[in-house]
């Protein structure tokens, strides 16, 4: 009896997942509990286990496909009547008659959705926008794109996903001319609005011609971060606004508080926590920075909450846990929440839901060094604040030369949503809150 295996729910709120790999092929006999696929959500990779056994007769998705939770992933035959190809002629011998695999979960109702186990956590949040996998010439239902081998080769060479190309010949057949025209039109559009523009880089040259090399596969977090960053970079026209903020007083005060905290056991207040508080205030004053652009409707979605993500460097890669309602939390509460979640992020103990829902992101590289950088906005957010290492500079204060501690800030923003003047106002206001720290206390 044919039975369908549906894509299980991975986590709350996850409606679709990306199929990373399939561990079964048509004709394979699987047992209940076997891992049949690996999927990736926005941030987590998960193994999909099947709740019943049988022979796989049809696979409804290919690696790289985005598949909906609850859609059919596999069709299994619960007896062993798999089709044989002409090359493997039918066995006529008794011992070749494989017994039907035990349908281990045959008593389970079909509606029972097995639960997958997340095995890793990955990369900043993203929405359904997916970077195309251009070399694949097959669509979701397995139909190859209507193009001949020469056209398909040209498409691979130019990194074009044929499913994005409309064919000019009978039956929608795609010609080589169509592919060239497509590339030309994408280039004229600047390739910015299409979410990757359908390009893939050409294959690598043979590096061994010039010296020794080693190939190391990227881990899942790395792969999904790479795909997400490409998408963000291609979709969002970035501008980065830099500024230097005088934090001499703030840093001195912070140190005093930290000394007291050491004795009382209160959470250590970090510059990141302070910046998150200041950012929450600025987001309230400049609501566009707290909005998202809906590409389908061209509407701005203004968020009435102020959740801020904080980039954390972990041994497995970059993670962005989110601190909720920074506008309602004191700096001390933000610091406590941050210490807790960042620690767990490094140990791999952060839940997927704790990395979702941010409105704005802060990334602080000051602990490492650097004078400035241009962070990439984390779609669908519209702004990200980069912090570099504070440095002492000589500054004229009231006619006197004074040594001041200056913090370099780098604010990248989506120029479709935010214009340059507003970005400058945002960073100046942020600077004010940090240099006049009493204001920060008053405002919060």
């Amino acid at each position: 009896m044919a039975r369908e295996f549906l894509v299980p729910a991975i986590d709350e709120g996850v409606e679709s997942v990306d199929l990373a790999s399939l561990t079964v092929a048509v004709g394979d006999v699987v047992e209940a509990g076997a891992v049949v696929a690996e999927v990736e959500t926005d941030k987590a990779a998960a193994d999909i286990e099947i709740g019943f056994g049988g022979t796989v007769t049809k696979i409804h998705a290919a690696p790289g496909d985005s598949i909906k939770v609850g859609s059919v992933l596999l069709t299994l035959e619960e007896s062993a009547a798999a089709e044989t190809t002409p090359a493997a002629a039918a066995p006529a011998a008794p011992a070749e008659v494989a017994p039907a695999p035990a349908p281990a979960a045959s008593a389970a109702p079909d509606s029972e959705v097995p639960v997958a186990k997340p095995v890793a956590v990955a990369a900043p949040a993203r929405t359904a926008a997916v970077v195309a996998a251009p070399s694949s010439a097959e669509s979701d239902d397995g139909t190859p794109a209507p193009a001949g081998p020469a056209t398909r080769r040209l498409a691979r060479q130019l990194g074009v996903d044929l499913h994005g190309v409309s064919g000019s010949a009978a039956g929608g057949r795609i010609t080589q001319e169509d592919v060239k025209f497509y590339v030309k039109s994408v280039m004229e559009r600047g390739g910015a609005s299409g979410g990757g523009g359908g390009y893939t880089p050409p294959p690598l040259p043979d590096f061994s011609k010039w010296g020794e090399t080693e190939r190391v596969p990227m881990n899942k977090i790395g792969r999904s971060a790479a795909a997400n960053l490409s998408m963000c970079w291609n979709v969002i026209p970035h501008v980065t606004q830099h500024d230097l903020v005088d934090i001499t007083e703030l840093e001195a005060a912070r140190r005093r508080v930290a000394e007291i905290a050491k004795k009382t056991g209160a959470p250590k207040v970090t510059m990141t926590a302070i910046a998150m508080k200041a950012a929450a205030i600025c987001l309230k004053e400049f609501p566009k920075f707290n909005s998202a652009l809906d590409p389908q409707t061209n509407e701005l979605v203004y968020r009435k909450y102020f959740h801020i993500g904080c980039a954390v460097d972990t041994p497995n890669g970059l993670l962005v846990p989110v601190i909720r309602d920074c506008d309602q939390k004191s700096i001390s509460e933000i610091a406590a929440a941050l210490t807790d979640v960042a620690g767990r992020a490094r140990d791999g103990g952060v839940k997927l839901s704790e990395m979702q829902g941010s409105c704005f992101t802060i990334t602080n590289l000051g602990g490492i060094g650097g004078t400035a950088f241009t962070p990439i906005v984390n779609y669908p957010e519209v702004g990200i604040l980069g912090m570099s290492r504070g440095r002492t500079e000589l500054k004229i204060v009231d006619g006197e030369i004074d040594e001041r501690l200056m913090l370099p800030l780098s604010l990248s923003y989506d120029h479709r949503v935010v214009n340059g003047a507003d970005a400058a106002r945002f960073i100046v206001r942020l600077g004010q809150l940090l240099s006049e720290y009493f204001q920060l206390a008053v405002e919060s």
Partner: protein, 470 residues
């Protein structure tokens, strides 16, 4: 002495030698390692080529018989088995010799040895004289092919129980031959022996011959085979084989099957398995799936960055022409060209009489997938050429997407179907629509017109076939 090469290709069959040639043509330093003294693989030595030489003779014998109805009567043919074997062996040695010359001309080093991986950069070469060398390589292409499946309980250690290799050796013409397995190998070899005078009995476990092919294409073949063969038993199993002095005694289990029966020879043709074990792949990062195939990606790369795999050892379908195409993809991958095995149509041809050939989507696959397709058929009874050669049992069919009119699959049964399917492959692979086939001029009078007329049928009526309007 440490030998070294840019590329080593293991196996000189229809995957291996084209890979070696293609790489050498692009300036690579290539070593082709082959266990047998002459290159060519199963295809040339024990498969495609010798079976076709014998099937050619079988066809001639049948046609001479059929000629009686056309007023030409030949004397009963006299078969000189030694001479026939020589003819077949001559074909093989001519072709394998040619490959050897092409190796020389291209500067491909042909080494007779069994290759075993020591690690991802080193191959042990076990020579026939017992000595061994080590060969350092940058890249390797594994093309070790496949072997007929011979279950242990059939393997009596008696040469009267044969696999396809034994059958092609043509030791004698058995009076009674049992063919186990109704796939293409069993039917082709059964046809050869039947034409040479054997009484052939076929047993097949499933309900039909040639699983995978559409039933309407198998039907005309089954009808003709029933005339030539003594019996075809479907849904029948061989429970046991026993060697006796009077022959091989087979116990058969099935409806209305006399059992036991005694045969002079038995051909076991129940499939082939990939040669992925015993070549040291476990010493590399390459992975093997549970059916024994080396796991590859669309560029023929295995999990080991230095090693690629092509042909039967790299997955179904186990067909020579698939291996040859994969050879090109593998080499172009190494050259950094935008190659990918993205072929839509891999033709399957059964060289029986009539021949059966198909490519792309079959009607049964479309049905199983619940896919909406239009199937148009053109019966050969309406073809002038088919009438002229008295082979009207043929059928040409197209599987078409009703929305885009794209040709998704082509199936043909009839004399010469194996040659005709080439047009179907081009149509499916290049995403032709039915109008492309219908409006292209096909030479008259040829059987290829049946493809054109089938396509015409999609738009209403074919010139030579009228379907009353409903």
């Amino acid at each position: 002495m440490a030998l070294s090469t840019d590329l080593v290709v293991i196996g000189a069959g229809p995957g291996g030698y084209p890979a070696a040639f293609h790489a050498a043509d692009h300036g690579m330093d290539v070593t082709l390692v082959n266990e047998e003294s002459a290159p060519g693989g199963v295809c040339l030595h024990r498969g495609c080529i010798p079976s076709k030489a014998l099937l050619h003779v079988a066809k001639l014998l049948h046609e001479a018989q059929d000629a009686e109805q056309w007023g030409v009567t030949f004397a009963k043919p006299k078969i000189d088995l030694d001479k026939l074997r020589d003819f077949k062996n001559g074909v093989i040695s001519g072709l394998t010799g040619g490959i050897g010359q092409l190796c020389k001309a291209r500067g491909v080093k042909l080494v007779q040895a069994r290759g075993e991986f020591i690690d991802s950069n080193t191959l042990r070469l076990k020579k026939p004289d017992g000595s061994a060398d080590e060969l350092k390589f940058k890249h390797a292409i594994v093309a070790t092919g496949s072997t007929p499946v011979m279950p242990p309980f059939f393997d009596l250690g008696d040469d009267r129980v044969m696999d396809s290799t034994g059958a092609l050796a043509l030791a004698d013409v058995p009076k009674k031959l049992l063919v186990v397995g109704g796939g293409y190998i069993g039917l082709e070899m059964g046809s050869v022996y039947s034409a040479l005078g054997s009484e052939v009995t076929v047993v097949e476990m499933l309900a039909g011959l040639l699983p995978g092919a559409d039933r309407d294409l198998v039907r005309p073949l089954a009808t003709r085979l029933k005339e030539h063969f003594k019996a075809i038993h479907l849904k029948t199993k061989v429970a046991s084989l026993k060697a006796t002095s009077g022959g091989i005694v087979a116990e058969l289990e099935g409806e209305d099957v006399e059992s036991p029966q005694t045969f002079d020879r038995v051909l076991i043709s129940i499939g082939r398995r990939p040669n992925s074990r015993g070549c040291g792949l476990e010493n590399t990062a390459a992975q093997i799936d549970d059916k024994g195939f080396i796991k590859i990606d669309k560029n023929q790369r295995t999990a080991d960055p230095n090693i690629l795999a092509i042909g039967d050892v790299a997955g179904e379908p186990m067909l020579a022409h698939k291996a040859t195409r994969e050879a090109k993809v593998a080499v172009e991958t190494l050259l950094g060209q935008p190659a990918e095995f993205d072929n839509i149509a891999i033709p399957a041809v059964v060289f029986t009489d009539p021949e059966l050939a198909w490519c792309g989507l079959t009607e049964s696959e479309a049905k199983a997938a619940g896919r909406n397709v239009t199937v148009v058929r053109f019966p050969w009874a309406a073809s002038g050429r088919a009438q002229a050669i008295s082979r009207t049992e043929g059928l040409t069919k197209l599987i078409i997407d009703p929305e885009t009119e794209r040709v998704l699959g082509v199936g043909i049964v009839g004399a010469g179907a194996g040659e005709m399917i080439a047009e179907g492959v081009i149509a499916v692979e290049t995403a032709a629509v039915a109008r492309d086939l219908a409006d292209s001029i096909h030479a008259h009078p040829t059987l290829s017109e049946t493809i054109m007329e089938a396509a015409e049928g999609f738009y209403g009526q074919a010139t030579h076939s009228f379907r009353p309007k409903k």
